[in-house]
Subunit: 279 residues, 2 copies
C-alpha cells in the first residue's frame, strides 16, 4: 500500500512538473513546445533499442519531444512498483511522459496476462501488442476487464502476422471497439497499402501511429526519416486533423540505429515543419 | 596555366559527378534530394566553426544538403590553386558545391582586393562581406570590374555595422545593383525588423540568406533551430517563391555549436517540411 501511494505521488509529481514547466527554470530560454494539435508528437521506444534510458531521455530533450511509448528494454515487464516509480520520476525530470507500453508480442494467455498487469502497474491505459490470432478472444475479454485500449502493431510484408491495416481491421472488426491498431505508416505502405486512406477508413480503430517514411511501396522499400520517402506527409497530417485523431504520432526510426540522433532530429523537424505549415 | 587547367578540370569533374549522381553508386538507396525550388537549401560555413572540412562534409551528407558557403577556416584566403582544387574535389566527393565565400570582413582596400582575388580563384561569383562604410565606393568599383555579386551581411543589434536589412539598403541603394545583402532573418528580427517584409521590399538586393530563428524580436532573443522561434517560416518560404528568390537559403546554426548535428538536422528537416507542405 505504501509503495502504491509512493508510486501515485511520483506520477502526480511528474505530471505537475511536466505541465507547470517548472523544471525549465534551469534553462530559461527553453520552453516546452506546444504543437497545438489534438494528436501528440511522440517517439516509439524501439527507436532507442541501442541506448539506455538516460541516453534516450537526453536525445528526447534535445529534440523537444515529450511523449514516449515505453519498451521493455527500458522498463522490464517484471519491474516492481519501486522501479516503475523511479522510471516515471526519471522521465518527469526530462519533461517526458510514458503514454503507452509496447510493442509486446503475446503468444500465450500468460503473456497476455503479464502485459495487462504490467500496463496497469505502469499506469497507462494503452498497450501496443502483437497477439497471435488465437489470443484475440482472450485479449477481447481483457480489454473489457481492464478498460484498456489495445493497438495491434502491423509490420508490413516482413512478418506474416498483421502485414497491414486492413488485415488488422478484418481480425478486430467484430471484437470490442477498444481493440484496434498501431498504424505503422511505413510498413503499411511497404505492403502496398495507402496509409492515408487507411487512417480515414479505420479511424475508429487507430489508437497509436508509428511515423516514418519508406523509399518504395514494396517490400524492398527502406524505412527512414519522416521527410524522405514516398508517403505524402503533409497529406497525412491533414488527414490526422480531418479524422480528429487524438492519440500519439510516434516516430519509430529504424535507419542508422547506432547513431540515430540526426535522423530523429531531422524527422521531428520535418514533422513539425509540416504541422506548422498546414495549420 | 597548367595549374589553372587542372583547377578547371577538377571543378568540371566535381560538377559532373554532382549532377550525374554517379557517386551514389556506393549507396544505392540514397539519392540526392531535389527540393524543386528556385532557391537552394544550403548551409553557411560558420555553422561548422568547430569542425574541420571532413567532419563538416560528413554532417552535410548526413542531412542531404549540397550547397555550402565557404568560410576561410575551411579554405584560407591565401590558398593556392592546388589547395583550392583539392578543396573542390573533396566537396564533390561528398556531393557538395561551394556556392559563395564569406562572410569576410573588409576594413581596407587591401582586404577588399584580397577577397575578390580569393573569390575569383575559388571560382565563385558571390562574396558575402562586411565592408567598412568607407570601403563601399571601392567595393562598387570592384563588382563592376569582376562582375561579382556582393552580399553585405547584417548582424542585428550586436554590431553597429549593418544591424538590419534597411540599413544595408540605405547604404547600397545608389551603388551598383550587384551590391546587396545577405539577409540574416534571425538577426534582422532581433533588431526589431520583419524579415519577411524586408525580403519583399529589398528582393532585388537580396543575394544570400541566413536561415535560423530567434526566441524574441529583441537583442535578448537567442537564435537557434529554424523551427523554434517567432519568425513564421511557412510565411517566409511563401515569400521566397513570391519574389522568385533564386539564391541560397543557408542555415547558419549558432546554438550548441560544439555538437551541432542534431540542431542542423532538425533545422533542415523543419525547413524541408515547410517547403513540401506549402508547395
Amino acid at each position: 500500500m505504501k509503495q502504491k501511494i509512493k508510486l501515485l505521488l511520483t506520477i502526480v509529481c511528474a505530471h505537475t512538473l511536466l505541465f507547470s514547466g517548472s523544471l525549465n527554470a534551469k534553462e530559461p530560454e527553453k520552453t516546452l513546445r506546444d504543437d497545438g494539435e489534438l494528436f501528440k508528437v511522440a517517439i516509439a521506444g524501439f527507436t532507442f533499442v541501442n541506448f539506455n534510458l538516460d541516453e534516450t531521455l537526453k536525445m528526447m530533450q534535445e529534440v523537444d519531444v515529450h511523449y514516449l511509448c515505453i519498451k521493455d528494454f527500458h522498463l522490464p515487464l517484471n519491474s516492481n512498483d519501486e522501479q516503475i516509480a523511479a522510471f516515471h520520476a526519471k522521465l518527469a525530470a526530462h519533461d517526458v511522459t510514458g503514454y503507452a507500453v509496447g510493442p509486446i508480442y503475446m503468444k500465450t494467455k500468460e503473456e497476455v496476462d503479464r502485459a495487462f498487469d504490467y500496463a496497469k502497474r505502469v499506469g497507462v491505459k494503452l498497450i501496443v501488442g502483437v497477439p497471435n490470432h488465437d489470443m484475440l478472444p482472450y485479449v477481447d475479454q481483457k480489454v473489457k476487464e481492464y478498460d484498456f485500449k489495445y493497438a495491434i502493431h502491423l509490420h508490413g510484408p516482413d512478418i506474416e502476422l498483421y502485414p497491414n491495416a486492413k488485415d488488422i481491421y478484418e481480425h478486430v472488426k467484430d471484437l470490442d471497439p477498444r481493440i484496434g491498431m498501431c498504424l505503422d505508416i511505413g510498413h503499411d505502405a511497404r505492403d502496398g497499402q495507402d496509409p492515408i486512406a487507411d487512417l480515414k477508413k479505420y479511424k475508429d480503430r487507430v489508437f497509436d501511429i508509428h511515423m516514418k517514411n519508406t523509399t518504395a511501396a514494396t517490400k524492398a522499400g527502406k524505412t527512414g526519416e519522416i521527410g524522405r520517402g514516398i508517403i505524402d506527409i503533409p497529406k497525412f497530417v491533414k488527414m490526422l486533423r480531418q479524422v480528429k485523431y487524438s492519440g500519439a504520432c510516434s516516430l519509430e526510426y529504424e535507419r542508422n540505429m547506432k547513431a540515430p540522433l540526426a535522423g530523429i532530429a531531422e524527422s521531428i523537424g520535418y514533422f513539425r515543419g509540416v504541422i506548422d505549415a498546414t495549420k
